[in-house]
């Protein structure tokens, strides 16, 4: 036996080492426990070096440029960026609150609630796993970071903390194939599951083909994954099509716009409301609203306005007038002559026909729908937003889609 082992010593060592690692793998899979000691050692060895490199890079890169562009500008820019990020988040929150039906209640809710508590973190290096998107940030358990916390930017979600070490944390990015988060669409409130694809885009699964999702529709975190607070923007649907296993929706995550350098780790999440339907851009060409119809002595307009209410109400009042003109009491005797001309202007059939509801046209790119009893503009706002005064530019005719986070439904808009 001994001679056998000596003869195949290399092979024996190989088998022993591989078998030991296989056992280690099996133990990790079976117990779902981690070899934390080794990870802590590795991370604690590597992250100080990368942090130092990052520090050097930040403080040396473009030094000459900084010199000529005045010292302190970079610092001020960083501070302003941070401030802008905070303001963006506040803006998200405010927009979400203001878009609810009761503005006063929203303001009260806003006062009562405080936005999610976050800490800023800097990405210092990426993970080593192949086909995955992971980064390390320079905040760890000593700063209050815990495994499972959400990582966001003011523009949207970024990922979640999957490992927390004393001075660093490993963040699984939303583009990683193993990433998943619950999302909900803004307009149709369709719930789905965000999944990474291993590259820049993500897809949303678990949505049936029968459910309605529009291209350009925004998705927000639903909060049901218990990781991301409800109401954080996720991205805009770039492609929507029916597939074999449900709808195929591809989005470009909004949190990655402008590159990732600094992120926010949500220490204490606060669920927010999903903003209402996006308001079209104020650059849309919209004519001024028509003046209210003048009640006239005759003509269909009189019936439409005087009758009021529904089409049935208007028909009823028209027939009542015909009956009154012929001295007919409904429910007694033969039917009156509905074709007879009535002084006092009964509505002609054409007018009655015109009072029938028109078929609603599909919503436009901005989600606006054509409403009855209103001019059929090329772009028409949703209910609630129609009462708001809009900027009018008679020369333009096309609408531009906008990011809902910036122009959220219900918010008062600029008037010129």
């Amino acid at each position: 036996m001994e001679s056998f082992l000596n003869r195949y010593r290399n092979l024996t060592v190989l088998l022993v080492v591989v078998a030991a690692q296989l056992l280690l793998l099996a133990w990790q899979v079976k117990t779902t426990q981690d070899v934390r000691l080794l990870r802590v050692w590795s991370v604690s060895t590597v992250t100080p070096v990368t942090s130092a490199l990052e520090f050097i890079r930040r403080n040396t890169f473009g030094v000459v440029g900084d010199y000529f562009a005045l010292l302190g500008v970079r610092e001020e820019n960083r501070r302003l960026h941070q401030e802008l990020g905070n303001l963006k988040m506040q803006n998200h929150f405010l927009n979400a609150e203001l878009s609810t039906a009761d503005r006063v209640r929203s303001l009260a809710a806003f006062q009562a609630q405080s936005p999610s508590k976050t800490i800023a973190a800097r990405i210092i290096m990426s993970g080593t796993a192949p086909n995955s998107a992971e980064v390390f940030v320079d905040r760890g358990t000593s700063q209050g970071v815990e495994k499972g916390m959400a990582v966001v930017t003011p523009d949207g979600i970024v990922g979640k903390v999957v490992e927390a070490y004393p001075m660093a944390s490993l963040v699984l990015l939303a583009t990683d194939p193993s990433f998943a988060a619950g999302v909900v669409s803004q307009k149709n409130r369709v719930h789905g599951e965000l999944r990474g694809m291993g590259h820049g885009n993500c897809k949303i699964t678990e949505i049936q083909n029968e459910q309605k999702v529009d291209v350009g529709e925004w998705f927000y975190t639903s909060g049901y994954d218990r990781i991301f607070p409800r109401g954080f923007p996720v991205g805009q649907a770039a492609v929507v099509r029916n597939g074999n296993d449900g709808k195929e929706i591809f989005i470009s995550p909004s949190g990655f716009q402008g590159g990732l350098d600094e992120v926010l780790i949500v220490i204490e999440g606060v669920h927010q409301l999903i903003p209402e339907q996006a308001v079209p851009s104020t650059d849309i060409h919209m004519m001024p609203p028509p003046p209210p119809d003048q009640p006239t002595a005759d003509g269909p307009a009189a019936d439409m306005t005087q009758g009021g209410g529904t089409d049935a109400d208007r028909l009823k009042s028209a027939y009542k007038r015909i009956g009154d003109a012929q001295g007919h009491v409904y429910g007694e005797g033969a039917a009156p002559n509905f074709n007879a001309k009535v002084t006092g202007n009964p509505p002609p059939p054409a007018a009655l026909k015109s009072a029938e509801p028109a078929k609603p046209e599909p919503a436009d790119a901005d989600g606006g729908e054509v409403h009855l009893d209103q001019p059929n503009y090329e772009t028409q706002e949703e209910t609630g937003a129609t009462t708001a005064p809009v900027k009018t530019r008679p020369q333009q005719t096309k609408a531009k889609s906008t990011k809902p986070a910036q122009t959220t439904g219900g918010a008062p808009r600029e008037t010129q």
Binding site: V13, L14, V17, L24, W41, M125, T128, P130
Partner: protein, 178 residues
């Protein structure tokens, strides 16, 4: 056997007991720098993400040491450190690099690993083997439905082999004649 093959074997026999060795600090520093490169540099130069420097370093040390047992432990150590710097279970990279270290060291006992052509071929082969075997383990042991793209791996293998030549030449500077 071809003339080229005979020459390779002859050279190997001549260098069967290499008198040169790599400075001991390089055994720690070089893998550390390789891992550091892998986790830091692609953040700014994304196109360098294909480089698997820890693997190339493993191949290099296994080839130069010509001791399979050393190759086994070196590969296992580098692989496990790589594993620990990601979310994945510890041992995945460890097993793959253990095998790479063993096979590279075994190959070096038979062939003249000073030959640049052979270095390129071995680097390409071990890169492909590394990626393929990792994919096999990922599917077989962990049940992950990851995708293996042979064409992409082929191209990345060629690129890594191209990088291996100057890298090995650079690392040769660390060797000291006994």
């Amino acid at each position: 056997m071809s003339e080229f093959g005979e020459r390779l074997l002859a050279d190997t026999r001549k260098k069967k007991t290499p008198g040169d060795y790599v400075r001991s600090f390089a055994f720690v520093l070089v893998p550390f720098l390789a891992i550091l490169f892998q986790v830091y540099v692609p953040r700014f130069f994304g196109f360098l993400g294909y480089l698997e420097l820890p693997l190339l370093v493993t191949i290099y040390f296994a080839l130069t040491r010509r001791q399979p047992i050393a190759g086994v432990f070196f590969g296992a150590a580098v692989g496990m450190v790589q594993d620990s710097l990601s979310q994945q279970l510890i041992g995945m990279y460890g097993i793959v690099k253990t095998l790479v270290g063993y096979f590279a060291a075994s190959v070096s006992m038979r062939f003249d690993v000073e030959n640049p052509v052979l270095i390129g071929i071995l680097s390409f082969f071990f890169y492909f083997f590394h990626q393929f075997f990792y994919w096999v383990l990922d599917r077989a042991l962990l049940g992950h439905m990851t995708v293996f793209d042979p064409q992409q791996t082929f191209v990345y293998g060629l690129l890594n082999a191209a990088v291996a030549l100057p890298l090995f030449h650079l690392l040769d500077k660390l060797r000291v004649k006994a």
